[in-house]
């Protein structure tokens, strides 16, 4: 029963990792952009929420109605005004530019907020738990985050497969040059794509900051976790990303059960093992 508990808690932890990964997966899937600043954008969202909470008195989850549109606008502007210019020269230029953005975000946050750790306070929901049969208690908040991840992915799937814009995104992901020849304005579409990716980044940032302390340097580890979830699940598969997040979460929970010092390392080890056994991940979609 103890192991079942570990599986459940670890699996639920995967929800936040999947949320970390969605934005990264979208920007890579649609425009082949490896966004090194992704983790810092998650943390930036948390700081934006912090400012909104302090100035409006909203609780963190309600602050999403302000944070999400702001981050969408930032993503749109960032792609349109900067990253679009890096996409014609191969993989390296966007990598370098987003690395630079990462450094800028970290240092600006350090300048503006100091190196202190912060946390968003949501109240009683953070510690509430539900008893389930077998003497196991499941945290309401992790359950909520997991449900948000599932809904986010289901919503994105519907968007990609049922809407005109989603169809255009899939076509551009297949072959951007031909899509442009068929009348699609790639630059505008890419800007929308990063905007949409940032919606999920903002969601991930706020939900993570309610659960965990954050500081200006908290981004890179979120980036690595996001990368691992995407790679374990297989590039281009959103449900795979959720599963990748769960694999990471479960590996960490198992590691922590063995010894608290093993928690983080166990996740990375699980990632390395999967990379060796199935280099293209559990559900690969992208074929290039």
């Amino acid at each position: 029963m103890e192991w079942l508990n570990i599986l459940i808690q670890g699996g639920l932890l995967g929800g936040i990792y999947a949320l970390f990964a969605i934005g990264l997966s979208l920007s890579f899937g649609i425009m082949r952009l490896v966004n090194i600043a992704h983790g810092d954008l998650i943390v930036l969202s948390a700081y934006v929420a912090l400012v909104v909470v302090e100035n409006t008195g909203l609780d963190p989850i309600s602050s999403l109605v302000i944070v999400v549109p702001m981050m969408f606008a930032l993503g749109y502007a960032l792609q349109r005004g900067l990253l679009n210019f890096t996409l014609s020269g191969g993989l390296l230029p966007p990598l370098l530019v987003t690395f630079g953005i990462s450094v800028i975000i970290q240092n600006s946050l350090l300048q503006g907020f100091g190196a202190y750790t912060h946390r968003l306070q949501q109240g009683a929901i953070e510690t509430a738990s539900l008893p389930i049969p077998g003497g196991i208690a499941v945290g309401v908040y992790p359950l909520l985050v997991f449900a948000v991840a599932v809904l986010a992915i289901a919503g994105l799937q519907l968007f990609f497969y049922r809407t005109r814009l989603g169809r255009a995104f899939r076509a551009v992901s297949d072959d951007a040059d031909t899509a442009e020849l068929m009348g699609i304005d790639n630059r505008k579409l890419f800007a929308l794509a990063l905007g949409i990716a940032m919606i999920f980044t903002a969601l991930a940032g706020v939900l993570f900051a309610i659960r965990t302390n954050f500081d200006p340097a908290a981004g890179p580890i979120r980036l690595i976790l996001a990368f691992e979830a995407v790679i374990i699940g297989g590039l281009g598969s959103l449900w795979g990303t959720l599963l990748g997040g769960m694999v990471l979460g479960i590996a960490q929970a198992v590691g922590a059960a063995l010894s608290p010092t093993w928690q983080i390392l166990a996740g990375h080890l699980a990632f390395l093992i999967i990379l060796i056994v199935r280099p293209s991940g559990l559900f690969p979609r992208t074929r290039d």
């Binding site: 005109r164 169809r167 255009a168 899939r170 076509a171 992901s173 297949d174 072959d175 040059d177 031909t178 899509a179 442009e180 020849l181 068929m182 009348g183 699609i184 304005d185 790639n186 979609r285």
Partner: protein
């Protein structure tokens, strides 16, 4: 009246010049063939017209307007559609989604999903299949249908016959007639000279990036074509 006119159209791939000052015109409603050997610049010419290569504004005149230096999606909005060499259907989209994507720009005109299915009834039966599941000929039909969905005034067809069986090629060229009957102007690029000449009223022969011969297809002189084709 000329629908398309090029003035000293030159195009480059990096430092390599692929087209040298091409001047040609295509009348409204006419079907024009561009022939020439491998590397003569036929595909480059079509890609330049479609906006995929850098050109100066005055080099391309479409419907009386200078439209060079436009992006591909702007060209589609103006009414120039392309059937690219090798079909280039989107592999993760179904046949119907490929067609719908062609209509993304929302230009009004006679072509709709229903009309395309009427022209190519086979596609109607296959519409839910992923594009790579189709045979070469079916893919070519889907690629033509996808281009028509943007309701083009000018349809650029690159190597329609490439890799297809003769009977399939004939079927596809028969369908071109229905497209021309809608008033669409068509430019076809072909390696297969006879096929190209049968389908067109006027032809241009390219040779090493330059225009070597231009003539009405009727009463063409076969030796003149051979000379222009091979540069003899």
């Amino acid at each position: 009246m000329s629908l398309l006119r090029t003035h000293g159209l030159s195009a480059f791939y990096g430092d390599f010049q692929a087209l040298f000052g091409i001047d040609l015109s295509v009348e409204d409603g006419e079907t024009v063939a561009i022939i020439g050997a491998n590397g003569a610049g036929k595909t480059t010419f079509l890609r330049a017209i479609a906006g995929a290569l850098e050109t100066a504004p005055e080099m391309i005149e479409f419907d009386g307007r200078r439209v060079g230096h436009s992006t591909p999606h702007e060209m589609v909005r103006l009414g120039i559609a392309m059937v690219p060499e090798g079909r280039k259907l989107f592999p993760s989209l179904s046949v119907e989604e490929n067609l719908l994507l062609g209509g993304h720009c929302g230009r009004a005109g006679p072509w709709s999903l229903q009309r395309v299915y009427k022209l190519f009834p086979m596609l109607d039966e296959l519409r839910r299949l992923p594009a790579p599941a189709l045979s070469g000929g079916q893919q070519q039909m889907a690629a033509i249908g996808r281009a028509l969905m943007s309701n083009p005034r000018l349809l650029l067809c690159d190597e329609l016959s490439l890799g297809l069986a003769p009977v399939v090629i004939r079927a596809i060229y028969d369908c071109l007639g229905a497209i021309v009957a809608e008033g669409t102007t068509v430019v076809i690029v072909e390696q297969d000279i006879n096929r190209a000449l049968d389908a067109s009223a006027h032809f241009y022969c390219f040779q090493e990036g330059r225009l070597a011969l231009s003539a009405p297809t009727k009463n063409f002189n076969r030796t003149a074509i051979t000379a222009a084709y091979f540069g003899l």
